[in-house]
């Protein structure tokens, strides 16, 4: 009797996950199917389940310089943001682990506040100052304002990874005459590579997907892919091919991340938010 009871719970668990998976994959699969249908077949009623797939929408996107630029802009903005945040956060996280710091609680609360502030609060003030100092609509300008979100997150993450390293290793380094800088890059850096990878990936996903700040602070030269995807959303006539194709193109790198770095992402999501 007990055994049946146990199996009943397991079966219900699999049934629930089946529905959850179906519900998750259905919209994505449907969008992908539409993106490889030819123009005449996209919205036939009843929908055509079997058709000759075409990559027409994708080649058109590749020839569309405006969209192609946004794709590469996003890659640069994401990379600069990641390098900036991880480098700066590594020093901060090391200081927080190694030293007694006054105002430590206040600093940690500031991180949480900065992380939580609404996006549009930054747009107009940054717009004004970026115009003045000449970094409006540049990769650097975008990467800097994104630090308000990714830097606090990186500090939490790297700090929690550093905490896992026993204090003895650190003491040994100091006795051997390592300066703090040497200790960071010779001893800690190799040990927390997994932590850095997880941090970089999660930061990258956030930056890649950000829209509100990008809408306000880019005009042409540094428009990211989210703005590129949004540009296909016309009111009068909708370019369905461009819309479906561009959305898929913007999703693919991130879904690949989810598949290959699943462990890192899960650990990062839980660690990063728990420590906050």
């Amino acid at each position: 009797m007990k055994k049946i009871q146990k199996h009943k719970h397991l079966i219900s668990a699999y049934v629930v996950s089946f529905f959850a998976i179906a519900f998750t994959l259905l919209p994505v699969t449907w969008l992908f199917m539409l993106s490889i249908k030819s123009k005449g077949e996209t919205f036939t009623k009843p929908p055509k389940w079997f058709f000759d797939p075409t990559i027409n929408n994708y080649t058109k996107l590749w020839d569309n310089d405006l969209f192609k630029d946004t794709f590469f802009n996003s890659i640069f903005i994401t990379l600069i943001s990641i390098v900036l945040s991880v480098t700066i956060a590594l020093f901060a996280a090391y200081a927080l682990k190694r030293y007694q710091i006054r105002f430590k609680t206040a600093f940690m609360q500031w991180l949480l506040l900065a992380y939580m502030l609404p996006e549009f609060l930054f747009v107009l003030p940054m717009f004004a100052i970026y115009q003045t100092i000449g970094i409006y609509d540049t990769y650097l300008g975008m990467a800097i304002i994104y630090q308000v979100h990714v830097l606090p997150f990186s500090i939490w993450m790297l700090r929690s990874f550093l905490e896992e390293i026993p204090k003895e290793i650190d003491d040994a380094a100091v006795i051997d005459g390592c300066s703090p800088l040497q200790a960071i890059y010779k001893i800690y850096l190799p040990l927390i590579i997994p932590g850095i990878v997880a941090t970089a990936i999660l930061n990258g996903i956030w930056v890649w997907n950000e829209l509100a700040i990008a809408l306000g602070l880019t005009f042409f030269d540094s428009q990211p892919i989210t703005v590129g995807v949004a540009s296909f959303r016309g009111y009068a006539s909708i370019d369905w091919g461009g819309m479906t194709g561009s959305a898929i193109v913007s999703m693919i790198p991130m879904i690949l991340f989810a598949a290959f770095a699943q462990k890192h992402i899960v650990k990062g999501l839980t660690l990063g938010s728990v420590k906050g």
Binding site: E210, A230, R233
Partner: protein, 280 residues
């Protein structure tokens, strides 16, 4: 050296000061002016605040934002926690299930709007097509009654897995002994979940509640990408409104006043969270 730790913190402090303190001070300062993109700026005191807070439209938008946040949070947390409880039981195949359920979190808000626009479009969408068979004429984004629930549904599809992933990790970290002991005493599966598992992850539940509520209050992408706040004001939220005020009505100061008021709410919730978190 005694200053070393502060030198290490200095770059973070400078960047955070520039990206968080400066925008707050700037917005507060110019919320007392009547700046409209041009060079002309006159000091008008708290007029912006008074006119906003006495504006009926603004209160409708505040109500919309909180209605959206309440229902989106409610469904995301209920569904996410239930999913985590069920999938926690699975040993074989749990990694692949978790990986697939992680996908929505990887998708940008604007792509989420694209996913559902093609499915729910009145003319071409597959869902209205099937609904028409059972005699339902649907209008997901265009009608007053349906637009808000539709947007909430999009957010639930998008963000439920955040709750799921964190709660699942919490459930997996619970030690086995109390659960085994309860089983010996003849407790049912649901009793164990209700009286042992959930109380043990209380602080995580509180964490997802705060993170999700602040995040849903900040909703922008999925409203801007689908209804743009319409029809009428049916789905207008605080951040989309602030965007429209600045870029369509060109009222910079008014837009910053909205964001100052909104930030006060966010800061209050954040401080409440860090205060309560110590007690948990």
């Amino acid at each position: 050296m005694k200053q070393t730790p502060y030198l290490f913190l200095l770059p973070s402090i400078l960047i955070l000061a520039f990206t968080s303190l400066y925008p707050i001070c700037y917005s507060i300062y110019y919320s007392f002016f009547n700046w409209r993109w041009g060079d002309e700026k006159d000091f008008i005191g708290v007029k912006n605040y008074i006119s906003l807070l006495s504006d009926k439209e603004f209160w409708i938008i505040i109500k919309n934002t909180f209605v959206f946040a309440f229902f989106a949070c409610f469904f995301e947390i209920v569904i996410g926690v239930l999913l985590a409880i069920y999938i926690d039981r699975i040993k074989i195949g749990s990694t692949i299930i978790r990986t697939i359920l992680l996908i929505p979190l990887m998708v940008s808000g604007i792509s989420v709007t694209m996913l559902f626009k093609v499915m729910l479009d009145n003319m071409f969408g597959i869902v209205p097509y099937f609904l028409s068979f059972i005699g339902i004429k649907s209008n997901f984004f265009g009608s007053y009654t349906a637009a808000m629930p539709t947007i909430i549904g999009l957010d639930v599809w998008w963000q439920t897995s955040f709750v799921f992933i964190i709660i699942l990790a919490g459930l997996k970290s619970i030690p086995n002994e109390p659960i085994e002991a309860a089983k010996m005493d003849g407790a049912s599966e649901w009793e164990i979940t209700r009286y042992i598992r959930l109380p043990m992850i209380k602080s995580l539940l509180f964490l997802v509640l705060i993170f999700r509520s602040i995040d849903t209050l900040k909703v922008f992408d999925i409203v801007w990408g689908t209804t743009g706040g319409g029809p009428g004001l049916a789905t207008e939220a605080l951040q989309t409104y602030a965007y429209r005020v600045a870029y369509s009505f060109l009222e910079m100061s008014k837009s910053m006043t909205i964001m100052v008021l909104f930030s006060i709410v966010v800061i209050f919730l954040t401080i409440l969270y860090s205060k309560l978190n110590k007690d948990l």
